[in-house]
């Protein structure tokens, strides 16, 4: 297998946009191509993530549409849908295409537009990623899924609402340092704890926002990447799945797909959790960050809440998590999120993250979770 590098990144501002998801992707892809220095003519494939285009934009076939709006209509293009992990799945397949020697330059990206519909509509569309026969008819929502996980974690380990609030406060503090973030204002523990319940025990400020946005990456083989100013190497990229129905999951306080994907990615890279300097992980809800830090092996099962409360995951802490602000503050345009997380880690490993830079970061990790925890991807990155 050949080595693969990320040589270009581009991310739009996240938040409300008056443009289609294809336009948002195209802006990010233009920036990623310019950042890479490779001409658009060198791109041999586009792997694209988009989730609810059919619902919010009445748009399917979003892969070639995105390629057309970018201006590279002839490249083979495939759209990936693994709920919120879609563009991380696209990324992993692009890595495999280059590693296998099929292509030398592949564009990866994703975009989503949801703020053109009401919160009630987007809540319903996101719920389509849970089971349509068994779960949607009950009125289950995504905050509801993670509320069930939160309650199980609180019951088993004594995790508190204040510990979950600490995750929100930390990620907003980081987001305030990121000019692309949807929310760039620090918040307090009291604000989180006083916000209204959405799905008990999760409150409004435990939840990431609905967002519009796009992200893109240029991936290249080692031969092409060596000509780039600062290639960031893909050390490993793994996916795992788990039961779709919540009732089939044996222990709601853990996410087995995170544990399996992490183990596979660490094995590919030949490193372990203590080698990682900076992490971008899937904090769609505050409890999701706590459970992910445990599943990735950064902390023991049950210790994630206390770690967050002690500040171990903040910038300057033992292991900085979500320096971008995470989904919570940076925003969560679901089709773009996986690619945007990679863009942040690449920026960190290049040493170009400005005020949110993790000093001396050499090894980074991205973790993206799809829907009801039935899909997880984990990738590892390193610099020369």
């Amino acid at each position: 297998m050949r080595r693969v590098a990320v040589i270009g990144v581009g991310v739009t501002k996240f938040g409300l946009h008056d443009r289609t998801s294809a336009e948002l992707f195209a802006e990010a892809a233009r920036d990623a191509l310019n950042d890479s220095g490779v001409p658009a003519s060198a791109v041999q494939a586009l792997y694209y993530g988009n989730v609810v285009g059919g619902e919010t934009e009445h748009q399917l076939h979003t892969g070639p549409q995105a390629a057309s709006v970018l201006g590279i209509p002839a490249v083979p293009t495939t759209r990936f849908e693994t709920a919120c992990a879609s563009s991380h799945a696209a990324f992993r397949h692009a890595v495999m295409e280059i590693a296998a020697g099929v292509s030398d330059v592949v564009l990866v990206g994703g975009a989503e537009r949801v703020l053109n519909v009401s919160t009630a509509e987007s809540t319903e569309y996101f719920a389509y990623a849970s089971d349509a026969v068994w779960e949607q008819p009950l009125g289950l929502t995504f905050p509801g899924v993670f509320a069930l996980i939160a309650r199980a974690h609180m019951q088993k380990y004594g995790t508190t609402e204040a510990q979950m609030a600490a995750v929100a406060v930390k990620n907003h503090r980081h987001g305030a340092l990121n000019p692309k973030a949807q929310f760039q204002k620090p918040i307090t523990i009291e604000q989180v704890l006083k916000s209204a319940y959405v799905a008990d025990p999760l409150k409004l400020f435990d939840c990431c926002p609905f967002s519009d946005g796009g992200a893109a990456l240029v991936l290249a083989s080692e031969e092409v990447a060596r000509k780039h100013r600062k290639p960031i190497w893909v050390l490993g990229s793994a996916a795992a799945s788990d039961w779709m129905l919540l009732g089939d999951k044996r222990d709601l306080s853990r996410v087995p797909a995170t544990e399996r994907a992490a183990a596979a990615a660490y094995r590919q890279a030949g490193i372990g959790p203590t080698d990682v300097d900076v992490v971008e992980l899937h904090d769609c809800f505050t409890i999701a960050e706590i459970v992910a830090t445990e599943g990735l092996g950064l902390f023991e099962p049950g210790a994630g809440g206390r770690a967050a409360e002690k500040g171990l995951t903040g910038l300057g802490g033992e292991i900085p998590v979500n320096p971008s602000g995470g989904l919570k503050a940076k925003g969560h345009p679901i089709g773009a999120t996986g690619a945007a997380q990679v863009a942040e880690i690449v920026t960190q490993l290049r040493g170009e993250a400005g005020p949110r830079q993790v000093e001396g970061a050499r090894t980074g990790l991205t973790h993206t979770l799809g829907g009801n925890t039935a899909t997880v991807l984990v990738s590892l990155f390193g610099r020369d």
Binding site: T119, A120, E121, T123, E124, A127, V133, W134, E135, Q136, P137, L138, G139, L140, T141, P143, G144, A147, L148, I149, R151, A152, Q155, A196, Y197, V198, A199, D200, P201, L202, L245, L246, G247, D248, L252
Partner: protein
């Protein structure tokens, strides 16, 4: 060609009549909620339907306060993962239990939730 031991449609028809049905692997004994072609434990293809008593305890629960459009009129409502005494778990809507009485470990009992169009989903009420 053999028919599946029990389809989702058949499960909900029996559920409408008040009966929860699971399937047991004839090879290894694994109990599962249908539909399923292969036993997830041993990959055998030999299921037998079994009746469940409908008794269980709350493993986790939430109170939904922001709902999808179709359920907006119901808020606030509770949804729970219920571990049935036979070992399998099911997600269901909590009915006829005050929200403030909900705790992990509370005994509950299956009851069908039947909509006007006869669409049936899983509910749990007082034991």
């Amino acid at each position: 060609m053999t028919e599946p031991a029990i389809t989702a449609r058949a499960f909900f028809e029996k559920a409408r009549a008040g009966q929860l049905t699971a399937i047991r692997c004839s090879s290894c004994g694994e109990l599962s909620i249908p539909p399923r072609e292969l036993c997830p434990n041993c990959h055998a293809q030999s299921w037998q339907p079994v009746m469940l008593a409908g008794d269980g305890t709350i493993a986790s629960f939430t109170v939904i306060r922001v709902a999808p459009r179709a359920h907006a009129a119901d808020v606030p409502y509770a949804i729970a993962v219920v571990q049935l005494k036979e070992g399998v778990s099911l997600l269901g809507r909590i009915v006829d239990i005050p929200l403030e009485k909900l705790v992990v470990g509370l005994p509950v009992r299956f009851r069908p939730l039947i909509a006007k169009d006869l669409a049936t989903s899983v509910g749990f009420g007082p034991a």
